[in-house]
C-alpha cells in the first residue's frame, strides 16, 4: 500500500485546497477522547484533550516542568506531611461562577472516589482541608516531595455545576451530564461534541492567563486510518495531525507547505522476563527450567541486541537508545548508570555457555502489534538477533486489547513493554515495574514477570519520602544499578514523537504527547 501511495503522491505537487481560514484550526488524532469527564478515564487521549478545557492546581510547561496554574504557589505544611496550595483569585469557570477552595475539595472528593479512574493519584493523601476561600491543604500520610508534580493532570471542576447537573461522581456505567458537557477554567470551552465524529472548541474569553494563541475555533476529528489522516492533511482539510507513521515522514517532508515535527517521547521500550516462572512455557527444548532466572542469560539476551541497526533500519535514525527505564532529562535519571549493554554476540554466546546453555534454547516472545511504533517489526528484528546467539525466539504478536490480559495471566517467557513515567520521575517506573508485585499496597502492578529484589522494595518508600535531592538521587542510582546488574529488563530505546502540520502552524510538541491548543498560532 505504501508504494502505491508513494507513486500517487509522487506526481501530486499542486496544492489546491489550502483554503481554510487562518483562525479556524482543524486537527486530527487517531483516538477520540472517550469522555469529557476529567476524572472518569485516566487515558492520554482524554487528559490531553481536556487539558485545553480544564485546569489543575499546577500544570506542565512546554519543557514538562511544573508551573503555577490554579494555584499561584505551594509549600510543604509545617508540623505534618503534606502541601498547602494558595489558590488564584478572580478566576471564574466558563459558566461564570467563581473558583474557590470548595471546588478543589469537591474535585478531590470526586476524583478520589471509587467511581473515578484517576483515584490512584490520591493514594498518598490522607486528608484535604479548606483553610480559607483561597487556601487548601493536602495532607499526606508520609513525606511526599513529588506530590505537586503528581497531580498536574488533576483537573478542577465547578462544584455548583456538577451538583446541579447530577454529575457529583464520574459516570462509571451510564453517562451523566459531565460525560458530554464541560465547565472548566481553561483556555477553551466546548462548543459541540459528536463522539467519534467531531468535537468543536472555542476560546474562553474570560481566561485568566495571557493568551498566546490566535485560534477562534478549533475542530477536532478522530481519524483512525493513518493513510486517511495523511490525505486529510495533504489535501489541506486539516492543519495538524498527531501522530503520523514513521514511513510517511518522507512524503510529508517532500511536499511544499507541510512540516514534520519530531521529538522524543518519554516512553521507553523494553523487554521483560518471566522472572518467577519455574519453567519456560513456549520452549521446544527446555521445558523443566526457566533459563531467564539466571542473570547471565538475561545479560546474554541484552548483548544480542544491535540497537544501532534497529535504529537505522526500522526507525530511520529517530530513536534514542535507552540505558534505563526513563530517558535522560527526566528527573531521577541515573547519570552514573547511563551505559547500556553493548552489542556483543560473542560475549552473549559465552554467557550462555557459562550458564549451561552452550547451544542456546528456544522460548516464547510476546509482542503487541498496535501499541508502539513499529512494535511488530521491532520484535521480528530482535528475534533474529536473539537467534544469532542461539536464543531461538518463538514470536507471537497480537493487538493490545488481547495483549495485556495475556501478560497479566503470566502467559509469556519474554515480552515487550513500553513505559512512559506518568509523573515524569524515575520513581514512577520503580513503583510500577521494579517493585515486587503487591496488590494490597498497589505496587508493581505492571511488573508482569514479578522481578523482585528486597533492596529495591526497601528503597522505594525511602525514595518517595526523601526531601533532599542528592540523597534521593543516591538511592535512585542504587536501584538503577541493581536492576542493571541483574538485567531486570532490557531497556531498548525512547520512542520518537512524530507529528505533522501545515507550514503556517506554530505549535509546541510536549514530551508527554499532549497537544495544547494554547500554544498554537496560525500564521
Amino acid at each position: 500500500m505504501s508504494t502505491l501511495k508513494l507513486a500517487l503522491l509522487g506526481g501530486a505537487l499542486s496544492m489546491s485546497a489550502m483554503g481554510a481560514t487562518a483562525e479556524t484550526f482543524r486537527w486530527a488524532s487517531t483516538t477520540d477522547p472517550q469522555t469529557m469527564d476529567p476524572h472518569a478515564v485516566n487515558s492520554a487521549p482524554v487528559l490531553s484533550f481536556l487539558n485545553n478545557v480544564y485546569e489543575g492546581l499546577v500544570r506542565r510547561g512546554k519543557g514538562m516542568s511544573i508551573e503555577p496554574s490554579l494555584a499561584t504557589s505551594w509549600e510543604p505544611l509545617t508540623g505534618e506531611n503534606g502541601w498547602r496550595f494558595n489558590l488564584r483569585q478572580d478566576v471564574t469557570f466558563q459558566d461564570g461562577s467563581a473558583f474557590t477552595a470548595e471546588d478543589v475539595l469537591f474535585s478531590y472528593q470526586r476524583a478520589s472516589d471509587e467511581a473515578a479512574d484517576v483515584r490512584s493519584w490520591f493514594a498518598p493523601v490522607s486528608d484535604v482541608r479548606v483553610v480559607d476561600e483561597f487556601t487548601i491543604d493536602f495532607v499526606n500520610s508520609a513525606p511526599n516531595p513529588l506530590f505537586p508534580d503528581s497531580i498536574a493532570n488533576f483537573m478542577i471542576l465547578d462544584k455548583g455545576w456538577a451538583m446541579a447537573n447530577d454529575a457529583a461522581l464520574p459516570a462509571r456505567d451510564a453517562e451523566n451530564f459531565a460525560t458530554m458537557n464541560v465547565n472548566g477554567t481553561g483556555p477553551f470551552t466546548l462548543e459541540s461534541r459528536d463522539p467519534g465524529v467531531r468535537t468543536t472548541l472555542s476560546p474562553n474569553a474570560d481566561w485568566w492567563d495571557v493568551v498566546n494563541h490566535n485560534i477562534t475555533e478549533a475542530v477536532f476529528t478522530p481519524i483512525g486510518n493513518s493513510a486517511t489522516g495523511l490525505a486529510a492533511l495533504l489535501s489541506g482539510e486539516i492543519d495538524f495531525i498527531q501522530p503520523i507513521p514513521l514511513q510517511d515522514v518522507a512524503q510529508v517532508e517532500g511536499r511544499d507547505g507541510f512540516k514534520v515535527l519530531e521529538g522524543e517521547e518519554t516512553r521507553v521500550i523494553m523487554f521483560g522476563f518471566g522472572h518467577e516462572h519455574d519453567a519456560l512455557l513456549y520452549s521446544s527444548d527446555v521445558t523443566d527450567a526457566n533459563p531467564f532466572t539466571d542473570p547471565r542469560v538475561r545479560l546474554a539476551a541484552a548483548h544480542a541486541i544491535d540497537i544501532a541497526s534497529i535504529n537505522r533500519v526500522l526507525f530511520r535514525g529517530k530513536i534514542e537508545p535507552a540505558s534505563q527505564l526513563v530517558p535522560e532529562g527526566i528527573s531521577g535519571f541515573s547519570k552514573a548508570n547511563s551505559d547500556r549493554p553493548a552489542f556483543d554476540p560473542e560475549r552473549a554466546k559465552a554467557l550462555l555457555a557459562e550458564a549451561g546453555y552452550p547451544d542456546g534454547f528456544s522460548f516464547g516472545l510476546k509482542c503487541p502489534n498496535d501499541r508502539y511504533i513499529n512494535d511488530e517489526a521491532l520484535c521480528r528484528a530482535a528475534a533474529s538477533m536473539f537467534a544469532a546467539v542461539g536464543l531461538d525466539a518463538e514470536l507471537s504478536t497480537g493487538p493490545v486489547r488481547d495483549y495485556w490480559p495475556q501478560l497479566r495471566a503470566d502467559d509469556f517467557d519474554m515480552y515487550l513493554l513500553g513505559w512512559s513515567p506518568g509523573t515524569f520521575d524515575m520513581e514512577h517506573p520503580i513503583r510500577f515495574l521494579m517493585h515486587s508485585q503487591d496488590n494490597e499496597r498497589k505496587l508493581g502492578s505492571w511488573n508482569f514477570g514479578n522481578y523482585s529484589n528486597a533492596r529495591v522494595d526497601e528503597l522505594l518508600p525511602l525514595i518517595q519520602q526523601e526531601i533532599d535531592p542528592a540523597a534521593r538521587q543516591g538511592m535512585v542510582d542504587e536501584v538503577v544499578k541493581i536492576t542493571q546488574d541483574e538485567v531486570a529488563y532490557i531497556p531498548l530505546y525512547t520512542q520518537p514523537l512524530i507529528w505533522a502540520a501545515k507550514d503556517n502552524v506554530d505549535l509546541t510538541q510536549r514530551a508527554d504527547n499532549f497537544f495544547m491548543l494554547r500554544w498554537v498560532t496560525v500564521n
Binding site: 500517487l8 485516566n42 484517576v118 460525560t179 463522539p195 486517511t228 490525505a231 510500577f432
Partner: protein
C-alpha cells in the same frame, strides 16, 4: 401475505438470537474490556472491582441471557468506551451508513444496468471490451485500495472532493442527511463509488449474462419475427425478464453492502455504523459490538423479506402460486 410476513418476522427473532449467541461466545476472545477502560495507573484491585460491577466474571451463558433479556425489554445498555446509551450511538450512525449504502446501490444500478444491456446487445463492440476490462480491474482491486486511490487522485492531487467525513449534513428530525447539501454530496461521492464498484461490476455482468440468455430464447425470436420494434423488444420484453435474478442478487448484496461498509467507512472516516463497530472492537466495547451484530442480522432478514416481496411484484407467476 400477512401470514408470510409474520412468519418471516418470527424467523428473524431466532436468527438474531443465534447471531447474538455466536457473537457472545466470540467476545471472550476479542480481549479484555477492563484494560481498555482503565488507565495504566489503575490498581489491579480497582480493575477487579469494575470487572465484578460489569458482570464480566459471570458465566458466559448468564451474560448472554442478561444481554438478550435486556434487549427484549428494549434496554440496549451502555457503551463501555463512552458510557453513552448504545441505542443512541447506533441510531445516530444509521443514517450515514444507510445513505452511503443506498447511493452506492444507486450508482451500481444506474451505471450497471445500462452497461450490462449495452454489453449484451453489442458483445463484440470496442466499448464493450473496454467496459468489461475496466470493471474486471475494478472488481479485482481490494476496496481499501480503490478508496485510497480515489482519495489521492480526487482529494489530494486534484483537490476537488473532501478526503474524509460527511461534510455538511442537514437534520430532518433525528435523521442527519447528506443528501440535501452540496457539501454532503461532495463528501458522499467518493465513498459511495468505492463501495459501489464491486456491486456495479456484479450488476453489469449479471445483467449482461441474463440478457444474452434471454435474447436467445424462443419468445424473443418469435417477437423478433413478428416485427416487434427492437427498442420495445430489448427494454420491455427482454430486460423485464432479466431483472428477476438480478433483483435477488442485488437485494442480497445490499445487505452485504450495509454490513460490510466497514472498510469503506474506515478509509473515508465515514461516521457510520461500520466505523463505530471498528472503534468498538479496538476498545472491546462488548455492548456496542453485540447490538451492532444483532442490528445487522435484523437488517439481513429484512432485506431478504423485501426481496421476496419484490419477486411477487415483478413476477406474475409467483402471485398466482401464492394464492
Amino acid at each position: 401475505m400477512v401470514y408470510f410476513i409474520l412468519k418471516r418476522m418470527l424467523q428473524s427473532v431466532f436468527v438474531m438470537m443465534a447471531v447474538a449467541f455466536l457473537a457472545f461466545s466470540l467476545f471472550r476472545f476479542v480481549g479484555d474490556p477492563i484494560t481498555q477502560m482503565t488507565g495504566v495507573e489503575t490498581s489491579v484491585e480497582d480493575q477487579e472491582r469494575l470487572r465484578e460491577e460489569l458482570g464480566l466474571n459471570d458465566p458466559f451463558i448468564y451474560q448472554f441471557l442478561r444481554f438478550t433479556g435486556d434487549m427484549l425489554k428494549g434496554d440496549f445498555g451502555f457503551s463501555y468506551r463512552t458510557r453513552q446509551p448504545v441505542a443512541d450511538m447506533i441510531a445516530s450512525r444509521i443514517p450515514a451508513t444507510f445513505e452511503l449504502g443506498v447511493v452506492a446501490l444507486m450508482i451500481s444500478l444506474l451505471v450497471g444496468v445500462p452497461a450490462g444491456v449495452y454489453t449484451a446487445l453489442k458483445p463484440r463492440g470496442v466499448l464493450t471490451q473496454t467496459i468489461l476490462m475496466t470493471t474486471l480491474v475494478g472488481v479485482s482491486i481490494p476496496t481499501f485500495v480503490i478508496g485510497i486511490m480515489l482519495i489521492f487522485i480526487f482529494g489530494v492531487q486534484l483537490g476537488w472532493l473532501p478526503t474524509f467525513g460527511r461534510g455538511g449534513t442537514f437534520k430532518i428530525g433525528a435523521w442527519e442527511s447528506s443528501l440535501f447539501t452540496i457539501d454532503g454530496w461532495r463528501a458522499l461521492l467518493l465513498p459511495a463509488i468505492t463501495l459501489g464498484v464491486y456491486q456495479l461490476t456484479l450488476t453489469m455482468r449479471l445483467v449482461r449474462a441474463e440478457m444474452m440468455e434471454v435474447m436467445r430464447s424462443d419468445y424473443i425470436r418469435f417477437a423478433m419475427a413478428r416485427g416487434v420494434p427492437m427498442r420495445s423488444l430489448h427494454y420491455k420484453h427482454a430486460l423485464a425478464n432479466t431483472m428477476v435474478p438480478v433483483i435477488t442478487i442485488i437485494g442480497l448484496q445490499f445487505g452485504g453492502v450495509i454490513a460490510f461498509s466497514i472498510v469503506t467507512e474506515s478509509v473515508f472516516q465515514w461516521p457510520g455504523m461500520g466505523l463505530l463497530f471498528l472503534e468498538s472492537i479496538r476498545f472491546v466495547d462488548i455492548p456496542v459490538m453485540g447490538v451492532y451484530l444483532v442490528v445487522i442480522a435484523f437488517f439481513f432478514v429484512l432485506v431478504n423479506l423485501i426481496v421476496d416481496l419484490l419477486y411477487v411484484a415483478i413476477d406474475p407467476r409467483l402471485r398466482i402460486r401464492d394464492v
